[in-house]
């Protein structure tokens, strides 16, 4: 309790000689990867820390579950790239079981052909040249540019955004550095950066490429988790967001975690426990308790009625839950609450997880099974991508969606019985708000699953024959079972107006809230979603810094 001993006596929760309940320095709502990361950093700093997870298993959306006996699904998030190396180092995650295995390549099946890119540079060049000689040259230039852009923008991932109204120069040092770096970029890169900030993914890629399946597949990373199409302005930036991922210093490398993404959460949880953090599952929080004046958090009340006192409450839930579910109405300033309500979630994706007793065979393929070892992207053309969005705009799931498929069992045989396979399909679009008519997600989701299997079967006709079991996750499931508001996988869209010092609310990007001792650390905060952990880490460091300043 070294953290804040000066003020503890004011807030002793129990009165009149009854049992003095345990009091924590920090209680963290939510045991997803960010909540656990915050807990690990706070515990490491000596704070008495408790994590409260509503579900029976840890990890939030970073979770593995043996839904079909013998088959472990990464139920929601399924690949990893952005997990911050400093977190891996600081928390010694390798010691706690972190094992990231590289995914190699992207296979785009077509009718009668395919496009297959791998990390074998010569193979990829020859393959693209088969489509377009100039595209092959452009591919190298584009890769170089994006790597430079990612290197330029990447420091923001490790930076607490300044408050735009702040006059403390220290808050601005990082941003000034970024501004200085921008001024030093060659003009060509400056204009590319402006393009990334303003253009659509399709328009941006059109500047380089002519090969449809190449553009379509590359454009996909611009729409993941957003309710936008590849032709919507602003999606070019998201291309860059996905270029910032790195594994072992190699940009744009994607990997799978051994045992599924849940094992990442387990590693962070193990690190947190090793520093003394307590973690409880089946412990959903119903509300945050406040001082009578309502301006400061004092702890939480669980759904079971149990009260837990804490000096600081940190919510890793999304911004809507953090402010509208855990607090009584009328506590927050009206304009702030209005902004929370305006924060865009608009979940747009679903997940179809399949247990297979053999690998499907794509009709036109390069031979062997190596081509299935990376991602398989159902993205034959920009038109296919945009049409998938057209349906979503009017509240229907895409009959012919964009699907990003991986077979984790090809990389990590531990997730399926020997010789059997797990197939993970990330599907877009699955709009949270369905139009009036055919019904809600509960009676639409199997039809949605059918649409995905039908579409993939066009390219791999034996898929249906090898499916042992199917598990569909709709945006409504994500909301109900995982607390992802409107099924948004990133706790709110990664659109430009919701990033950096505007994430989640302009002026509140520094993990604090209008309520004293009530903080945020989830993906609704800077720098956004993905298995990155930066939010959780930055929130913890900011909290530790703030406390140190106060005590001093």
């Amino acid at each position: 309790m070294a953290v804040d001993s000066t003020r503890t006596e004011i807030r002793t929760p129990s009165q009149g000689g009854t049992r003095v309940a345990e009091r924590y320095d920090a209680v963290i709502i939510g045991g997803g990867h960010n909540g656990l990361t915050t807990a690990a950093y706070l515990a490491r700093a000596g704070w008495k820390t408790l994590v409260l997870e509503k579900r029976r298993i840890l990890g939030g959306a970073t979770t593995s579950d043996e839904i079909v006996p013998g088959y472990t699904f990464s139920v929601l998030s399924y690949v990893v790239s952005l997990l911050r190396p400093e977190i891996i180092r600081d928390l010694e995650l390798a010691k706690h079981g972190l094992e990231i295995l590289p995914l190699d390549g992207t296979f785009t099946p077509l009718h009668g052909d395919y496009l297959w890119r791998t990390d074998d540079h010569a193979q990829t060049m020859r393959e693209i040249r088969r489509w377009s000689a100039t595209d092959a040259d452009a591919y190298e230039e584009y890769g170089q540019l994006m790597a430079d852009m990612a290197r330029f923008i990447k420091p923001i991932l490790g930076m607490v955004p300044p408050d735009p109204t702040s006059i403390d120069p220290r808050d601005w040092l990082g941003v000034l550095g970024l501004g200085r770096d921008f001024a030093r970029l060659p003009e060509r890169q400056q204009s590319a950066f402006i393009g990334l900030m303003t253009m659509s993914a399709a328009d941006f890629l059109d500047q380089w490429f002519e090969t449809e399946p190449l553009k379509a597949t590359m454009s996909a990373s611009g729409i993941i988790g957003t309710f936008l199409g590849v032709r919507s302005p602003g999606t070019a930036y998201v291309l860059l967001h996905h270029y910032m991922g790195e594994i072992d210093g190699a940009f744009r490398a994607w990997g799978l975690h051994k045992g599924g993404t849940g094992a990442i959460s387990a590693a962070i949880a193990s690190a947190a426990r090793s520093h003394g953090a307590e973690i409880r599952t089946d412990a959903g929080v119903s509300r945050v308790t406040l001082t009578p004046s309502g301006d400061r958090a004092t702890g939480v009340v669980l759904e079971s009625g149990e009260e837990i006192a804490a000096n600081v409450v940190v919510s890793s839930a999304d911004v809507r839950r953090t402010f509208l579910q855990f607090l009584e109405p009328g506590i927050l300033p009206g304009d702030f609450e209005a902004q929370v309500r305006r924060f865009k979630f608009r979940g747009s994706s679903g997940k179809v997880n399949l247990a297979l007793d053999a690998l499907p065979t794509f009709t036109t393929n390069p031979g062997g099974t190596e081509y299935l070892r990376g991602a398989v992207s159902i993205s034959p053309s920009l038109e296919h991508m945009e049409r998938a969005y057209d349906e979503a705009k009017y509240g229907r799931f895409s009959r012919r969606p964009y699907v990003d498929i991986v077979f984790p069992s090809l990389v990590d045989p531990s997730v399926a019985p020997p010789g059997r396979h797990v197939m993970s399909c990330f599907v877009q679009y699955a709009p949270y708000n369905l139009a009036e008519g055919p019904g809600d997600w509960d009676n639409q989701k199997e039809a949605f699953g059918d649409a995905v299997v039908d579409l993939v079967s066009e390219f791999a006709p034996n898929l249906r024959d090898v499916i042992v079991e199917r598990h569909v996750v709709s945006p409504l499931d994500m909301e109900r079972d995982w607390g992802l508001t409107e099924g948004n996988i990133f706790h709110g869209e990664l659109s430009l107006e919701q990033l950096f010092f505007s994430r989640p609310i302009p002026g509140w990007a520094r993990y604090r809230t209008p309520i004293r001792d009530y903080w945020m650390c989830g993906s609704s905060t800077h720098p956004g979603g993905g298995i990155m952990g930066a939010n959780g880490r930055l929130a913890a460091l900011e909290l530790i810094r703030a406390r140190r300043t106060k005590v001093a």
Partner: protein, 400 residues
């Protein structure tokens, strides 16, 4: 002229990028896949086949086979009963290491002891020279015995599927006979990966059939062939030394500092000075009586943020070379050179830059902070390196 091993008819078509290196006169695959990291992952997550046939292999046969072993190795060969395998260095008369390898006590035949001796360098002259008064026949079986390492957490599943027998009872550093696709083979619970794994000793004329049987049985376990680049990464993680990288054989040393005693290679735990005489014992007794050798092999954890800073100073994104470097690099303490790093590489599993180093005794304590030369864009810099315990990676399954 470099030639193929007994597995070459199978490994050659798999080597899609013609990435070969020479190993004792044989073609050894550096990597089969474009990226050896995939092969590294097969060793650490699934199962891998590594052709180690270029090892020198000798068969010692006769009533005095074990006496010959005892005369040469630093360990007590009296404990090398049939079915056991020793890893050991052996020394010249000055107590300097000639080579290191595994020595397998095969089953006795017709009352004669049989030993399989494996080595990185040719040893037949040394073996025969020291057997002059013993009743033992030493034969070079390097070309008639093919060897493949089956390594990885699923290697036991593959071996059991391929042979139809259980290997749960074959403990770490034990061996026994087995039958694979009708082929009589010898299986040792050994390897150079620091993981669960086996080495299979196969009649060279049946090597291709054995390979096919292992690949067929291994398919459901995602088995894949792995080359030397991947092997180098796992052996570094396992803290296993490599001749000609981490030390020089006394046969090939030109100056005293190129000679290493077992105590200088982290192999002191194996040396048994009390169990009878062996070649080099007197020198090692004298060395220890004088306080031990003045340098030691240590593991170092090289500070990655400092490497990143050297790249950042050049305006570059950091780069972790995916292969192990065997280029010796100076290491410093308080500005003075105190030794050399002999193997350096990135561990994808531990997310660390690791090294094996030979440093002065005063700097060999765990936790000692050293500085190591690191060059970026042809600019020399130094980065911090901390002495840590070996092995870097030691999963329970290694001994399981």
């Amino acid at each position: 002229m470099t030639v193929g091993t007994a597995f070459h008819p199978r490994t050659a078509p798999l080597n899609a990028h013609l990435q070969w290196r020479e190993w004792s006169g044989f073609f050894a695959a550096s990597a089969y896949h474009a990226s050896h990291v995939i092969e590294y992952n097969a060793i650490r997550e699934a199962a891998a086949l590594i052709d180690v046939s270029p090892l020198f292999k000798y068969e010692l046969r006769g009533p005095d086979a074990v006496r010959l072993v005892d005369r040469l190795i630093v360990r007590d060969a009296a404990k090398l009963s049939p079915g056991r395998v020793f890893y050991t260095p052996w020394c010249d008369e000055h107590g300097k290491v000639l080579d290191d390898g595994t020595i397998h006590r095969l089953d006795d035949e017709d009352g004669a002891q049989v030993v399989r001796w494996t080595a990185a360098d040719p040893q037949i002259r040394w073996l025969r020279m020291n057997a002059h008064d013993l009743d033992v026949e030493v034969r070079d079986v390097s070309e008639s015995v093919a060897a493949v390492a089956l390594q990885g957490p699923l290697s036991r599943d593959v071996l059991e599927a391929a042979t139809g027998t259980s290997f749960v009872d074959l403990r770490f550093f034990r061996r026994r006979r087995a039958t694979l696709a009708g082929i009589p083979i010898d299986v040792s619970r050994t390897g150079y990966t620091g993981d669960l794994g086996y080495e299979l000793w196969i009649p060279a004329d049946r090597a291709v059939d054995a390979w096919d049987a292992l690949v067929a049985a291994g398919e459901p376990y995602r088995i894949r062939p792995a080359g030397m680049l991947a092997l180098d990464v796992v052996r570094l993680e396992a803290g296993l030394i490599l001749i000609e990288a981490d030390y020089t054989s006394a046969v090939h040393s030109h100056i005293p500092s190129q000679n290493y005693s077992p105590y200088e290679l982290g192999l002191g735990r194996l040396v048994d000075l009390d169990a009878g005489d062996f070649i080099g014992r007197r020198a090692l007794v004298a060395e220890m009586a004088a306080g031990g050798p003045p340098r030691r092999l240590v593991g170092i954890d090289i500070d990655w943020p400092e490497i990143e800073a050297l790249y950042a100073a050049q305006g570059l994104a950091p780069y972790a070379p995916p292969t192990v470097s065997r280029a010796p690099v100076p290491v410093f303490a308080a500005g003075r050179q105190v030794g050399r790093v002999t193997s350096t590489g990135w561990s994808p599993l531990l997310k660390k830059m690791l090294g094996l180093a030979s440093v002065g005794l005063a700097h060999a304590q765990t936790g000692t902070r050293l500085a190591m030369e690191w060059t970026v864009e042809a600019r020399r810099g130094t980065v911090a390196a901390t002495v840590v315990e070996l092995p870097f990676f030691d999963p329970p399954r290694k001994r399981a």
